[in-house]
């Protein structure tokens, strides 16, 4: 049995035997299958992943016929975050003309709808100009970020202060109030950028980071926007594989949101009018990447099979089998990218 140089979920390199890699692939897949009550990967799929880890190539890639479309989060902050002083327009042009981007996204550096609301007046003309000079479809994106609506960042009593005092009903009332503020901001920003800015779609990114109430707010906002603008593209990217039950009782269309996994999340997104869905499977840093990759693919494959709309899985720092590091290594990133696209038959990343 040969030695395989793999990595842990935190990116550290680790030597593993083939038997250890095989075991971790099977265990990771089984973990996802048991949690979400979905089928584990087949023996052929495990063998495919095993072969991927045996290969010595630094970079691997998908078969030509399986190439997919890329969408992004916080695109016009990516280059800026590397302290390269270029404008949003220049970043869009760089992504479109130098980095092979299939879609573009104009964003505000403080990437939450609540914060964006204050600068819509500036980003609207930015979008108007961007659509004149670019060709690829363009989103306006931000995060629902429900937490910003509670004390100390917002006006509503913080449920996390109320729950330890056993004020469960009051905490749920707080969530309901936060949800109304969030829906109002998301619909306002989405409407302004679509109707007056001319964008092709709105991207709700890192959805449900604050749990089930946040997922509900994003679904309702998508539903309202879809009803208002039937041709609007709506992408909803998630924050994790499991909807945390912070409210625990909130429902959308008669379905309790707490505890939903990606193959269930996508069905509600379809009902709300979302046109592209992005499952996000978090990395477990103290498990190996083979374990994490098999786990992520198991969740994502079930989601892709259940979906009627395009699935753009999140494969970035700490999600989708990519290690939780700021600069993901090529060997890990390219294996995660290829394996997700080919096994899950993804529409995009």
């Amino acid at each position: 049995m040969g030695k395989i140089v793999a990595r842990m979920g935190d990116g550290d390199r680790v030597d593993m035997t083939e038997a250890e890699v095989q075991q971790d692939l099977e265990d990771g897949s089984q973990d996802a299958a048991e949690r979400a009550k979905i089928p584990p990967l087949t023996s052929d799929e495990i063998a495919y992943l095993m072969e991927l880890y045996r290969r010595k190539d630094r970079v691997v890639g998908v078969e030509d016929s399986k190439a997919c479309c890329l969408s992004y989060d916080n695109q016009t902050s990516k280059i800026e975050r590397a302290h390269i002083p270029v404008s949003k327009f220049q970043q869009l042009a760089l992504f479109e003309r130098c980095l092979g981007a299939d879609t573009l996204e104009l964003t505000h550096i403080d990437y939450s709808f609540k914060q964006v609301k204050h600068v819509v007046i500036y980003d609207k003309p930015n979008m108007e100009q961007a659509v004149l000079s670019t060709i690829a479809p363009i989103f306006y994106g931000a995060m629902p970020n429900l937490g910003l609506y509670s004390v100390p960042d917002g006006p509503v009593a913080n449920p996390m202060d109320l729950i330890p005092m056993d004020k469960i009903d009051e905490a749920r009332e707080s969530y309901a109030e936060m949800v109304e503020y969030a829906i109002s901001d998301m619909v306002y920003v989405g409407s302004q950028l679509y109707e007056f800015g001319g964008c092709d779609g709105i991207n709700f990114d890192t959805t449900a980071a604050s749990g089930d109430a946040e997922f509900y707010a994003a679904l309702k906002a998508a539903e309202i926007l879809h009803e208002k603008y039937p041709d609007m593209g709506i992408e909803m990217g998630m924050s994790g594989e499991f909807i945390l039950g912070m409210h625990a009782e909130i429902e959308y269309d008669g379905v309790r949101l707490a505890g939903l996994y990606p193959h269930e999340q996508v069905k509600l997104c379809e009902k709300a009018g979302v046109t592209m869905f992005g499952p996000a499977i978090n990395i477990v840093t103290n498990q190996s990447l083979p374990w994490n990759l098999a786990r992520s693919i198991t969740f994502t494959k079930a989601c892709s099979e259940a979906s009627n709309i395009p699935v753009h899985a999140n494969l970035g720092m700490g999600v989708g089998g990519v290690p939780l590091v700021l600069h993901p290594p090529l060997d890990a990133l390219s294996r995660a990218s290829k394996a997700h696209v080919e096994i899950c038959r993804l529409d995009g990343l």
């Binding site: 016929s65 997919c68 969408s71 003309r97 980095l99 041709d231 046109t275 009627n308």
Partner: protein, 106 residues
């Protein structure tokens, strides 16, 4: 940081280098899944699905159809001009094109 170039090389269609932007439009605005979107775009372009990811074929085809090319070329459609042609070719209402028409009274 730095992942985007890697994803584009490993899995991406290539955006305007090929037909990635056109396929993405059908995904975003029509909710088409990848195979359906590729077939639809290939049909409208009069190309094969295999051609869509070939930067050589698509550079020539994009210039012929006047739907935007990566490298600066005199006289070819750029920005919104190209999107007028894309909307017509794909039989798709593009939001900013419709907004443009309304504003200038076309």
């Amino acid at each position: 940081m730095g992942m985007h170039a890697a994803h584009a090389i490993v899995s991406g269609m290539g955006g305007m280098r090929t037909a990635g932007d056109l396929v993405a439009r059908m995904q975003l605005n029509r909710g088409m899944r990848i195979d359906a979107a590729k077939s639809y775009v290939a049909d409208k372009l009069g190309a094969s699905v295999e051609d869509l990811a070939c930067s050589v074929t698509m550079a020539e085809l994009r210039e012929d159809l006047d739907i935007g090319v990566v490298c600066e070329a005199p006289g070819v459609a750029k920005g919104i001009d190209a999107k007028f042609n894309i909307a017509r070719l794909l039989e798709l209402d593009i939001n900013c094109v419709e907004m443009f028409k309304k504003r200038v009274g076309i």
